[in-house]
C-alpha cells in the first residue's frame, strides 16, 4: 500500500480568473486600437470626413453643458478673481505708480520737446527771414543750462568749437539778440546774456544810436543818447553793426534787440536820456538758440 504509487491530480488553472484576465486584456487592447484608429482617421482628415462631422455634432451637443458649467462656475470664478485682485492690489499699485512716474516723465519730456520745437521753428523763421545778417550762417543748438537765477547772466549751449562755434560769436533766439559767446569748449559753449553785455544799437525809425547796457534790477537801458535826440516809446532797437572797417563790431548790423518800453526821461542835471529797453528775446526761458558765425572765417 505504501509502495503503491498515488496518482496526483492535475493542477487546475483557475478558469474564471484566466478568462477574466483574457477579457481584461482584450478590452484594453481593443480600446487602445480604437483610440489609435480614431487618431489615425482624425489626423489624416482633420477638416473633413464622417469622423469630423461626428466630432462637430458631438461638440455641438456638448456645448450647452459647457455653457451651463461655465455659468455655474462664474460666481466662483468672480470670487476668485476678486480675492486674487485683492491680494495683488498692493503690487499692482506699486506697478501702476512706477508706470505713472514713467508716463509723467515722458509727458514732461514731450511738453519740453514741444516748447523747444516751437522755439526752433521760430528760430528757423528768423534765420530764413530778411532781418538775418548777411555773411553769417546760423548754428542752431539747444540750451543745456539756462540762467539759474537773477544773479546769473550766462547760459550753456550744446554746441562748441567742434560745431564751428567761435569766441565772441553773437547768439540769437527766435525773438532777437540773446548775447555773445564768451567761452568755447569742444562740445559746449558759454553765452553771456544781453543783460550782462554792451551792445551798440540804433533806432531804425529815428536813427538814434546808443549803447544797450545792463540797468538797475536786471533791466536794459539805452545809454549815451543825448537829451536833444528824440526816442519814442515802442521804438525798435537793432544792432548798429560796424562803424569802422578797421575795428569791426562783434555784432553784425540788423539783429533785433528790443523795444523802448517806457517814455524816455531825463533829470535836469543828466547829460543823457534814460531809455528803458525791453529785450525781444525771452531770456528767462530759452530752449533753442542760434550761434551766428561768419561764412568767411577771416572776418
Amino acid at each position: 500500500m505504501l509502495a503503491s504509487s498515488v496518482q496526483r491530480s492535475k493542477p487546475t488553472p483557475y478558469p474564471s480568473k484566466a478568462r477574466s484576465a483574457l477579457i481584461r486584456r482584450a478590452v484594453v487592447v481593443l480600446l487602445v486600437l480604437v483610440a489609435l484608429t480614431l487618431i489615425t482617421i482624425s489626423f489624416r482628415s482633420p477638416t473633413s470626413g464622417a469622423l469630423h462631422g461626428l466630432q462637430g455634432a458631438g461638440s455641438t451637443a456638448l456645448r450647452p453643458f459647457q455653457i451651463a458649467a461655465t455659468r455655474v462656475a462664474q460666481p466662483f470664478r468672480d470670487g476668485y478673481d476678486y480675492l486674487s485682485s485683492l491680494s495683488s492690489a498692493k503690487s499692482e499699485n506699486e506697478r501702476l505708480k512706477r508706470e505713472y512716474r514713467v508716463v509723467r516723465a515722458e509727458a514732461i519730456a514731450n511738453a519740453a520737446a514741444q516748447a523747444k520745437l516751437a522755439q526752433v521753428e521760430k528760430l528757423l523763421q528768423f534765420v530764413q527771414g530778411s532781418t538775418f545778417p548777411k555773411g553769417y550762417r546760423a548754428i542752431s543748438t539747444g540750451v543745456i543750462s539756462p540762467p539759474s537765477g537773477p544773479f546769473t547772466h550766462t547760459l550753456t549751449i550744446e554746441a562748441g568749437s567742434s560745431h564751428g562755434v567761435r569766441l565772441n560769436s553773437p547768439v540769437v533766439s527766435d525773438g532777437g539778440l540773446v548775447g555773445i559767446v564768451t567761452n568755447v569748449f569742444p562740445n559746449t559753449a558759454k553765452v553771456t546774456l544781453l543783460t550782462d553785455s554792451y551792445v551798440w544799437a540804433v533806432d531804425p525809425r529815428t536813427g538814434v544810436r546808443g549803447g544797450v547796457a545792463p540797468g538797475p534790477g536786471g533791466t536794459l537801458q539805452l545809454t549815451e543818447v543825448s537829451k536833444q535826440k528824440v526816442v519814442h516809446e515802442n521804438d525798435p532797437l537793432i544792432t548798429a553793426g560796424t562803424r569802422s572797417a578797421r575795428y569791426p563790431d562783434l555784432y553784425p548790423y540788423g539783429i533785433p534787440i528790443g523795444r523802448v518800453s517806457a517814455p524816455p526821461g531825463a533829470t535836469d542835471t543828466a547829460m543823457y536820456l534814460q531809455v528803458q529797453v525791453q529785450p525781444f528775446a525771452n531770456l528767462g526761458s530759452l530752449e533753442a538758440v542760434a550761434v551766428l558765425v561768419p561764412k568767411n572765417p577771416r572776418r
Partner: protein
C-alpha cells in the same frame, strides 16, 4: 458592476470632463492646471478595477477631444492606459491602502503629462517639453489637493465592491 452603477460612473465622468474642459482648464495656478477629470478617473479606477478604468478613460478622452475639438482619440489613448494601470493597481497592491489614491494621482499626473507630450510629439504637433516639465510639480500638488475630496465623493457615489468581485491575478496573502 451593475447598470445603475455604470450610469452613475458615466454621469460622474461626463460631469468631470465637462467641468475640466469648461472651467478648470482656464484655472492656471503656477503654470499648471488642476485636472479634475484625471483625479476622478483615478478614484473610479481604484474603486472599480482595470476594465472599468480603461473604459472610463476611453469615454473621458472621447468627451474631452470632442468638446475641445482636438485630435479625436488622442486623450482617449492616454486616459485608457492610465485608467487601466490604476485599475490594476487598485485590484492588486493598492487595494485597501489609504495612501493608494494619493500615490496613484501623483504618479498618473506625471505619466499622463509625459504620455500626452509623447503622443503630441509623435504626431508632429506642438510638444513644449520644458513647459510641461516646469508645470509638473504644481500640477501634482494641485491634483493631490483635489484627491481627498474627489475620492471621498466618488467613493460615496460608487460604493466599493467586494474583494472577490475584482479580478486579481496576484494572490493576496494579507
Amino acid at each position: 458592476m451593475t447598470l445603475f452603477d455604470g450610469v452613475k460612473a458615466a454621469a460622474l465622468i461626463f460631469v468631470a470632463a465637462i467641468a475640466q474642459v469648461s472651467v478648470f482648464s482656464e484655472a492656471h495656478v503656477f503654470g499648471a492646471v488642476p485636472d479634475v477629470l484625471l483625479v476622478s478617473l483615478v478614484a473610479f479606477a481604484l474603486l472599480r478595477g482595470s476594465v472599468s478604468g480603461a473604459v472610463g478613460g476611453f469615454f473621458a478622452g472621447i468627451l474631452v477631444d470632442t468638446a475641445s475639438l482636438g485630435t479625436l482619440g488622442l486623450t482617449s489613448l492616454v486616459l485608457t492606459l492610465a485608467g487601466y494601470w490604476i485599475g490594476r493597481y487598485g485590484e492588486t497592491t493598492g487595494r485597501d491602502r489609504a495612501h493608494a489614491p494619493f500615490l496613484s494621482v501623483a504618479v498618473v499626473t506625471v505619466l499622463y503629462q509625459i504620455g500626452l507630450l509623447v503622443v503630441h510629439f509623435v504626431l508632429g504637433e506642438s510638444a513644449p517639453a520644458g513647459a510641461v516639465v516646469r508645470s509638473l510639480v504644481p500640477a501634482i500638488v494641485l491634483n493631490l489637493v483635489l484627491t481627498a475630496p474627489l475620492y471621498a465623493l466618488v467613493r460615496r457615489l460608487l460604493r466599493p465592491v467586494e474583494r472577490d468581485e475584482l479580478t486579481a491575478e496576484v494572490q493576496l496573502l494579507g
